[in-house]
């Protein structure tokens, strides 16, 4: 029997002209792992919140939601709180208490459990999640990944039967994200926990998923076992960016019959079906030209006198007419580098030059007037006013490479992540910077929005703005950058043109590079992969 069942569910927010959900029906069987994808604003989060009694939004609801055969609304409060677990996108704001152990106990305290039972459950869950080293810590001392793991653990401690995860990895870096997804997979495998997961990085989620659902404008356009659903979704042009890399490549090449999900399957397919006469694309050999926009020369920085060096003998140059991407793991010093470049922190040794002038010689905030602007990771920190219009007062909106006219009277906090990113970018461009620094600009964006953002970055470059971008997103870096560099432990360890950079890396690289490694050289993006495979052509059927 289905554990959670949704029948003809329609939902509209008050005063909204369109329905947020339109006749959605599906059922989750006990122990199933289902992934849900869709664009921002397609109704994913609305659906998720409707499934959790305590979080149901106000509005007109039709149809019914059944939990274990009973109406969700009739469920007893304590039962509903413990049986249906919910984790959302932002790791920080979901945490209630100041210490890790107390946060774990929070839900059990709410249910009025007695001390002995809480102690037992909390210790058990901390052990299962491997939280012993930071069990006594303050939550403010944890990394984003640890915070999200804590959120998951403090839901799991209540022993839920269904886990609803609303883009839980959107704010995490790829390594933390994959650790999180793996933990969820393990919970599903070992305890038969029923999981409904909203996720943009489908590759990893799909490996374990039993089914895939896709929402578009409030309608369920696919709800089937993974491969069937992928084919279904692939028929809709605008949904293609959501698919895993290997599936997208097949669609591009027009291979209707195959549907690889993982890089491994994609690779096997390429190896079997394509010739290998030409192994490399016609080379690109650009040397950076123009004047340097930003120079770091043997820069050292640390946060406290007794601390470790966050930047260590760091030297690199980014030039005027290029998009420069800095990649690297968490804590490799990427964000620190940006704050040094923006003059927010001062290195204790070495020099930072912006357009040939030492950063200390920019007096009276002149660095931020027509020279440098920094778009921070958390774009909410950019907004100070109640509407977008006030926020962008005095900006030339016609000159922007994107259109914001529909958003002018809304509160910046009410916008979607992608829209916030664009408004923040418009705000950063108001000071007419010649060098734009961006910290993780694609974090939390859906794939479609990400593609649009890539075009925005390219058009900024076309206007003569130098762009330095710190990112975890290898696919994004491969597509927009002119040069990429890798940071490790506060140093730049390699720096090259994107194709050579990603061909040279074996682990920190794009899916397309992984799929073609050893078969073809210098492939970084979907377009590269498509091109080289088209040049080579398919093997004759007789041979294969």
């Amino acid at each position: 029997m289905a554990l959670l069942e949704v029948r003809d569910l329609s939902f509209a927010y008050p005063n909204a002209s369109q329905k947020a959900l339109d006749k959605v029906s599906f059922a989750l069987a006990r122990g199933e792992f289902v992934t849900l994808c869709g664009a921002t604003g397609s109704g994913k989060s609305t659906l998720m919140r409707l499934l959790k009694k305590e979080l149901q939004p106000l509005g007109s609801l039709e149809g019914e939601i059944l939990y274990d055969g009973k109406k969700l609304g009739d469920l007893d409060g304590a039962l509903s709180a413990s049986r249906i677990g919910y984790v959302c996108q932002r790791p920080d704001e979901q945490i209630v208490c100041d210490k890790v152990w107390h946060e774990l106990a929070f839900g059990l305290e709410n249910l009025g459990f007695e001390n002995g039972l809480i102690r037992r459950r909390v210790s058990e869950i901390a052990c299962y999640f491997g939280m012993e080293p930071w069990f006594e810590e303050k939550v403010s001392a944890l990394s984003g990944g640890q915070k999200q793991m804590l959120n998951l653990a403090s839901v799991m401690v209540m022993q839920p039967e269904v886990l609803l995860l609303d883009e839980p990895t959107a704010q995490l870096d790829p390594i933390q994200a994959s650790e999180f997804i793996n933990t969820v997979r393990r919970l599903n495998r070992e305890f038969g926990l029923t999981v409904l997961l909203i996720e943009h990085r489908l590759e990893e989620a799909l490996e374990r998923s039993d089914r895939l659902m896709a929402l578009k404008n409030g309608r369920l356009i696919a709800c089937a076992p993974v491969r069937e659903a992928l084919k279904e979704i692939g028929r809709q042009e605008d949904m293609v960016p959501y698919l895993p890399a290997a599936t997208r490549l097949c669609l591009k090449l027009g291979l209707k019959d195959a549907c690889p999900v993982s890089a491994k399957e994609g690779r096997a397919l390429i190896e079997k079906r394509y010739k290998r006469d030409v192994t490399a694309l016609p080379g690109e050999d650009r040397a950076p030209s123009g004047k340097p926009a930003l120079e770091f020369e043997n820069v050292y920085f640390r946060y406290s006198r007794d601390g470790k060096d966050a930047l260590k003998d760091l030297s690199f140059r980014a030039y005027e007419n290029e998009v420069f991407c800095l990649l690297g793991g968490n804590g490799s010093g990427k964000t620190t580098l940006l704050s040094c470049a923006a003059g927010l922190r001062r290195p204790y040794a070495g020099t930072v030059r912006v357009f040939g002038k030492k950063i200390r010689q920019y007096k009276n905030q002149s660095l931020y007037d027509g020279c440098v602007a920094l778009l921070p990771q958390d774009v909410q920190t950019v907004f100070l006013r109640a509407t977008v219009r006030e926020e962008l007062e005095g900006a030339c909106l016609q000159d922007l490479p994107f259109d914001l006219s529909g958003l002018m009277d809304r509160h910046p906090y009410d916008l979607s992540g992608g829209q916030q990113q664009l408004v923040a970018l418009a705000r950063a461009l108001m000071a007419k910077p010649r060098l734009l620094l961006m910290d993780e600009p694609t974090k939390g964006l859906d794939p479609e929005t990400k593609l649009r953002f890539e075009d925005v970055v390219r058009s900024l470059k076309a206007r003569g703005i130098a762009v330095l971008c710190v990112t975890h997103d290898v696919e994004f870096a491969a597509r927009v950058s002119d040069r990429c560099a890798m940071m490790f432990m506060g140093e730049v360890t390699s720096c090259d043109l994107p194709r050579r950079f990603f061909a040279g890396n074996s682990f920190y690289t794009t899916s397309f590079s992984r799929m073609t490694r050893g078969l073809y050289d210098l492939v970084a993006t979907l377009e590269d992969a498509e091109e080289i495979l088209r040049i080579n052509g398919e093997r004759d059927k007789a041979c294969s």
């Binding site: 305590e54 979080l55 409060g77 304590a78 509903s80 709180a81 413990s82 959302c88 932002r90 704001e93 979901q94 945490i95 209630v96 100041d98 210490k99 152990w101 107390h102 929070f106 839900g107 059990l108 305290e109 709410n110 249910l111 009025g112 459990f113 007695e114 001390n115 809480i118 102690r119 909390v122 006594e136 303050k138 939550v139 403010s140 959120n151 403090s154 839901v155 209540m158 923006a342 003059g343 927010l344 007096k363 009276n364 905030q365 931020y368 007037d369 440098v372 602007a373 920094l374 921070p376 958390d378 920190t381 950019v382 100070l384 906090y413 705000r427 950063a428 108001m430 000071a431 620094l437």
Partner: protein, 292 residues
């Protein structure tokens, strides 16, 4: 982790209230001297020679307070000398010394107390009376640093986007106010997510319980009982007119009898109790180590 950290917060609180309480309501030089000695000995036992600078600050405080009294109060019969037509008396000097000794000793008791009572233990203390209050405290402890952190982030972001046009204080203040006002919006906005997260985990469904990670054991009972008994015996004679010391107009004390000696002894043991516990623990470790 030293020995006192392992005691139950209730026992620790009772002990410190007793030790500091007796000192607070007494102006007897012997009691105050014992209190000061006990408080200092505990602090030095726990911290060794760390933070010598802070001691200098307390010494200064002690001296200033001791000096202010004779300069402002001119009661007393024994005039030492005359300053600006005002007599400086021996009684006022001694009273000043006693009062500042009392204040500094109480401050040192509370320094040690706040070291032992970490936020976890405070929470446990509140949690016994009201789980709700404990949650409020815990949330405050979580939100104040989060708020500060976010304010720093917003300020950095704004600086790098050119909010501050010039390096002058008026501009800085205007910018700071803008940042503060948006922080209020941010707090409200993100409070909604926290409220959701609380509701999702059943906040308000039934009466909350409180997760206490320790329990009141025999040694805690021992500490509590001995603290109460010793404090009681220390103040007992005072109730019958013993152990009294008068500064003004002339120094006079109730003659020393058996009762008052017992009282001093009891208070002496009370004030040295935590130091003894720490020393005992230290000795035990030495002994254990030599056995390894």
């Amino acid at each position: 982790m030293s020995a006192l950290d392992r005691y139950d917060p209730v026992a620790v609180t009772v002990y410190f209230m007793a030790a500091a309480g007796v000192a607070m309501f007494s102006m007897h030089p012997v009691i105050l001297a014992l209190s000061l000695f006990g408080a200092l000995s505990l602090y030095f036992t726990r911290n060794g020679s760390n933070g010598m600078r802070s001691h200098a600050l307390y010494l200064l405080l002690f001296l200033v307070m001791a000096l202010i009294n004779p300069l402002t109060h001119h009661n007393g019969v024994t005039v030492l000398f005359v300053l600006n037509d005002n007599p400086v008396t021996l009684e006022a000097c001694l009273y000043g010394l006693a009062a500042s000794g009392m204040i500094v000793s109480v401050l040192y008791w509370f320094r040690s107390y706040s070291q032992i009572m970490t936020s976890d233990k405070l929470l446990y203390l509140f949690g016994r009376f009201s789980p709700r209050l404990a949650l409020t405290v815990s949330m405050a402890l979580r939100y104040i640093p989060l708020f500060k952190q976010q304010a720093k982030k917003v300020n950095d972001a704004q600086k790098a986007l050119g909010l501050y046009k010039d390096d002058n204080p008026i501009d800085a203040m205007r910018g700071g106010m803008r940042v503060f006002s948006v922080m209020v919006t941010w707090a409200l906005e993100n409070g909604v997510i926290t409220a959701d997260s609380m509701a999702a985990r059943g906040y308000g469904v039934t009466r909350r319980s409180f997760f206490a990670r320790r329990c009141f054991g025999a040694k805690d009972a021992c500490l509590t009982a001995s603290a109460l008994v010793l404090a009681l015996f220390s103040v007992w004679p005072a109730a019958f007119g013993g152990v009294r010391f008068v500064f003004y107009p002339a120094l006079s004390a109730v003659p020393c009898d058996g009762m008052s000696i017992a009282s001093y002894l009891c208070y002496g043991v009370l004030t040295l109790l935590p130091s003894l516990i720490e020393w005992g623990d230290e000795l035990k470790w030495r002994f254990l180590k030599s056995g390894i």
